[in-house]
Every structure is written in C-alpha cells, then in structure tokens.
C-alpha cells in the first residue's frame, strides 16, 4: 500500500529487504515510522509555536534571533491576560462556555428526537418530512446568515445568548446523522418494551437513549467543538464586546492595531485548552462516533 503523500515517497528508504505483509505494503517498518513521524512533526509545530509564544515576552517573540524556547518562562502572562482591563477575555471565555454547552444540549435533544421519529415512527408523510429536512443540507447555513441576521435582529436578539444559541439548534445534518444511527439500532429492544406497554416516548427515554449513550457522547463532542469554534454567526450577532465569544474576541485582537503578542497567544492557548481536554478524555467516543456517523461507505 504505497500512498500518494510526498512524505512517504521521500522518506521510504531503499530497504534491502522490504517487508511485505498481507496488506501488501512495500514500505519497511522503519520507513513507515519515519514517514508517520515526519508528518506528525509538521502537525505539532503550530502547537509548539503557540505554547512558546504564549510563554515568552514580546521582545523574545519578535527578536531577530530565533529562540526555540523562552529563556525565562513567563507564567505571569496568564495572570496578565485575565486582569487586563482593555481585553474582556474572561467574559468571552464564559460566553463561549455558556453558548457551547447550551448549544450542545439543545441540539442533542431536538435533533435526536426528530431523527428517531424519522427513522422509526411509522407515519404516512414521514418521507416528505425527511426530504424537507434533507433539502436544508443543500443550503449551507453560512449562506443564510444575511436573512438570519435580519430575522434575529427583528426579534431583538442581537447581543443575547438567545440570539447566539437558538438559531443554531436546528441542524438538518445532525438530525440526519441521528436518523442514520437509529436506523441501525436493534429494533427488538424497542419491540420488547412496546410489548411491555411502553409508548414511543417511554421506549425512547428508557430503552433507546440509555442504550445509545456512546453515540450521544460522540455527537455531543462534535457538536460542542463546532459550537465552541463557530465564528461567523457569533461575529454577526455579537456586536457589543460583552457578548463576544472567544473566537470573536481573538479575531478582534488580531485585527487591532496595537498588537500585544504574548497576550494574543496566551488567549489563543486558552481558547484551545478546553477542547484539548475534551479531546483527551472523550477521544474514544469521538473517533467511534465519527466513524459510525453513516458517512462511511
């Protein structure tokens, strides 16, 4: 299995005795690890730069001579970031936390219920409803930001949590993924519950949800990441600095004329940190969930 990436062909050494395993690789084990390691190195460089800059002084970041590590690690940058009056960074972190959490809870509730109904509850016009949902996938939400902004501002929701959260709850894509998942959920379990007299509602909450926690966890992780990282909508809605999310705040520092490098990088580090934790702890579900979202062949 040779690959198309340039790293591979470059670093695959002319091995004297290429090992050929069942899957037909010609690359030696060493070559394989060199290639993967090289790629991994490039993937990690930005993280290294982020941490290095966040813990340096501005003079070290902008100095003529490249410093691989700060000579004197500036932990005080953390304190400076959160006490700096001109940059309401703590507030924007809090906004992001609230928005991403409520967004996740809402999306999971609303979309999973709909996805379940579309997959399981027999109803004459279910197909029509399904196509109506599928149709929205064709229109990227980003394209509708102009009319959505118009709608939300006429509701008076600009600069509010409502405006940041509610319009994003109705994701056709998440609903679709839940439907795909529930189609594969073993029917027998629900049928047993129904025989025992549970209605759809009871069967859903007592049987289906408790047995689908893995998938819910995966979708929660993905939704949280998307909610935390979304930028265009919060940028449009968050006009007052008090309602900025982390991403909007970062963007504003970046385009600001007076650039304080170490604070910007420290802020960026704090914007990524929560998700890195989410990643480390929930990665198993995340990977499984993405793998079983129904996108696979």
């Amino acid at each position: 299995m040779t690959t198309t990436t340039p790293e591979v062909s470059k670093s695959a050494p002319p091995a004297p005795k290429p090992r050929r395993d069942r899957r037909g690789g010609v690359m030696s084990s060493t070559g394989l690890y060199i290639a993967t390691g090289t790629a991994a190195f490039f993937f990690l460089v930005p993280f290294y730069l982020l941490v290095r800059n966040a813990l340096s002084t501005d003079t070290e970041i902008t100095g003529e001579n490249w410093k691989f590590f700060p000579t004197d690690v500036q932990w005080s940058n953390v304190k400076e970031l959160f006490t700096d009056e001109t940059v309401p960074f703590g507030q924007s972190l809090w906004n992001s936390a609230v928005v991403a959490t409520l967004h996740t809870a809402g999306v999971l509730l609303v979309c999973s219920l709909a996805g379940y109904a579309l997959a399981r509850i027999p109803y004459r016009h279910a197909n029509k409803v399904f196509y109506a949902v599928l149709g929205t996938l064709m229109v990227p939400t980003a394209v509708t930001f102009v009319p959505s902004f118009v709608l939300v501002s006429s509701l008076g929701w600009v600069d509010t949590y409502r405006g940041l959260i509610i319009p994003g709850l109705f994701s056709g894509f998440t609903c679709f993924l839940f439907r795909q998942y529930f189609l594969g959920f073993p029917k027998e379990l629900e049928e047993a519950a129904r025989v025992d007299g549970l209605g759809y509602w009871g069967a859903y909450w007592r049987i289906v949800v408790p047995n689908s926690l893995n998938f819910f966890a995966a979708m929660a992780t993905i939704t949280f990441i998307n909610g935390w990282n979304s930028f265009l909508w919060p940028l449009v809605i968050g006009q007052d600095p008090g309602s900025w999310t982390v991403q909007v705040a970062l963007s504003n520092y970046m385009t600001n004329q007076t650039v304080v490098f170490h604070l910007i990088f420290m802020a960026t580090a704090f914007s990524i940190l929560p998700l890195v934790f989410v990643f480390l702890f929930l990665q198993r579900w995340l990977v499984q969930g993405i793998a079983q979202t129904g996108i696979k062949g």
Partner: protein, 321 residues
C-alpha cells in the same frame, strides 16, 4: 444494558391496561408521536431555516439598504448587479481556485495519513491523536498562529527565519497578492485543520475492507503496493471518497473564518461569504444585493452538489462499486 430494570419498572401498570399490543388513543398513535418527536425540530427549522431563506429570496427582488422591510421592487436588478459586479464574480473565482487547491490536497493528505496510521503496529493511537488534534482548533486560532507566527511577513516569522537560513529574503506572505503567496498560507492552514477529521473517515473505511480481498489478490498475482492499492483499496474506498469530496466541497463553499482573519481589510482574495458579509453587513448594509448574492450562491451549491451526485454516485454507496 438496562432492559431488565426497565421491564420491572414498566410492567405493572400497563400490563392490566391492555395485554393486546396496539394501544388505542392519542398517546399511542404513531402520528401523534411523530409530531411530538419532530415538532420542536420542525418548528425551529421553519422559523430559523426556511423563513430566512424565503425572506432572503423576497429581499433579493427589492432595493433594501439599511432596511429589511423595503417597498421598492426592482425585479432582477440586484441579480444583474451582483452578476456583473467584479467583486462578487471575483469572489466566485477565488472560491474556484481555492476549491481546486484544497479539495484534492486534503483528499490526498487525509487518505495518505489514514494509510500510514492503518499500517502502524505500535503507537497507532498516539499518531492518530496527533493528526486528529488540530480538529480541536478553530479557524480563528489557526489563522492567528499562521498570521502572527509561521507566516508573519517580518523577520521573526518562522518561515522567513527558515528562508533566511538559506539566504532568501523576507516574503510578505499576506499583504501582497503579487505573487499570490497568500494561497500557501490559506491552503496550509486549512489542510492542517481538516485533514485529521477526514483521515478518521478513511481509517474507518479501510478497516471495513475485508482482508480476504487482499489474499485473493495476492493469489491472483497482484503485486503488493501500487497494484493492490489501485485495484483493491481505492475501489473499496469509493463510497467514502465520494462522501469526503462532497463534504470538502461544501466546507470550501463555507470558507469564511480564515480568509476573514488572515486577509482582513484586503480587497482581493475574498471568497463569496466574505464578500457577502461586507456587502450586507458592512458600510452599505445592502441587504437586497446581499440576498441576491446568497441566492445565487445557494443555487450554485445545489447545482454542483446534484451534478457531483450524478457523476460520482453519491448516496448509491454499496451498489455503485
């Protein structure tokens, strides 16, 4: 599995109500339940997805500056204005160039990474995590690192530092469209951010390929390496590849964050969404033209999606192999 406990909890009451299964009345009816489950989602969809789209189409036929309740009907004027507007047409060109770069490179890189990781025996989880980790970063954060550290146009930028070791002069990566070095910055940032995600999709697909296929191929004399990859792996990945390409295209259409942050305040290198953002929410607050642009863009996206589905057979998956 909580089946037993649930059964204990649930059995006493309804058992005497009706031993026969189909329960009568509103609560048991599928139609009622369908709307109970779907109701909140569909109402939200109607208000926050369909209504804005319809409003957008309506607005696009009016002259609407600084107002969302316009009264001056202008027919297709907004459309002709947008379609003859150099900035908007230019943004479509920018998108086309961007997609032509980013879709194949991400496809190749994520497939390559998946093939590598799939063959690892040790530290597979570690490398998978490394490649996947950038998915946690936002485009804003990546744009910031790219703009202020790696591709900073001044001396202390990483790339310029490295170039200096080879005696090459500083390159102003992001402030000068001639030569268009900014593509390097934008494409590399997005590659870094999204390849890991698609790698996971390819990994899942690779692990679903039955090993017997490779054994059969070996018996038939296929040489390991390029031949098996070409004749077994690639065809087996067809459905995933199609889905990945489609998702990549849609993601490319939505490009906004990194362009907005990396190329702030430039008039060139704007993809459609950035162009629409400035048109509709910038100084002029021109909702009419902005909406017309959004409608044009939506029609284009639908057309491309449908065409791609026709040619590559998206959705037919298994049968189309």
């Amino acid at each position: 599995m909580s089946t037993t406990t649930t059964r204990d909890l649930a059995s006493p009451a309804p058992a005497k109500a009706s031993p026969a299964r189909p329960r009568r009345g509103l609560r048991g009816s599928p139609t009622f339940n369908f709307w109970l489950f779907c109701g909140p989602f569909l109402i939200g969809l109607a208000i926050f997805v369909y209504a804005p789209i319809l409003w957008s189409i309506w607005l696009s036929f009016f002259e609407a500056r600084f107002t969302v309740t316009p009264d001056k009907f202008v027919g297709f004027e907004n459309y002709t204005y947008m379609l003859t507007n150099d900035d908007f047409v230019g943004s479509l060109v920018t998108f086309t160039v961007f997609a032509a770069f980013i879709v194949p490179t991400t496809w190749a890189l994520s497939l390559g990474l998946a093939l590598l990781v799939n063959r690892l025996r040790f530290m597979r989880a570690f490398f998978r995590s490394v490649f996947f980790l950038p998915t946690a970063c936002s485009y804003v954060a990546a744009a910031l690192i790219w703009k202020m550290s790696i591709f900073s146009g001044v001396r202390f930028g990483l790339m310029n530092t490295i170039l200096a070791w080879f005696g090459i002069d500083n390159i102003a990566w992001l402030v000068d469209p001639n030569p268009p070095w900014y593509w390097v910055v934008i494409v590399s940032a997005r590659l870094w951010l999204q390849s890991g995600f698609y790698m996971i999709l390819f990994l899942a697909a690779l692990q679903n390929i039955p090993g017997e296929l490779y054994e059969a191929a070996a018996i038939d004399g296929a040489k390991p390496g390029w031949q098996t990859f070409r004749h077994i792996t690639l065809p087996q990945l067809r459905a995933t590849s199609t889905a990945v390409i489609l998702l990549l295209l849609i993601a490319a259409y939505q490009a906004f964050d990194e362009f907005f942050n990396l190329l702030s305040k430039t008039t060139w290198g704007r993809p459609p969404l950035v162009e629409l953002y400035y048109k509709a929410l910038g100084e002029s607050q021109d909702y009419g033209s902005g909406s017309a642009g959004a409608v044009i863009l939506t029609v284009l996206i639908c057309a491309v999606t449908l065409l791609q589905g026709k040619f590559l057979g998206f959705g037919r998956g298994e049968e189309s192999k």
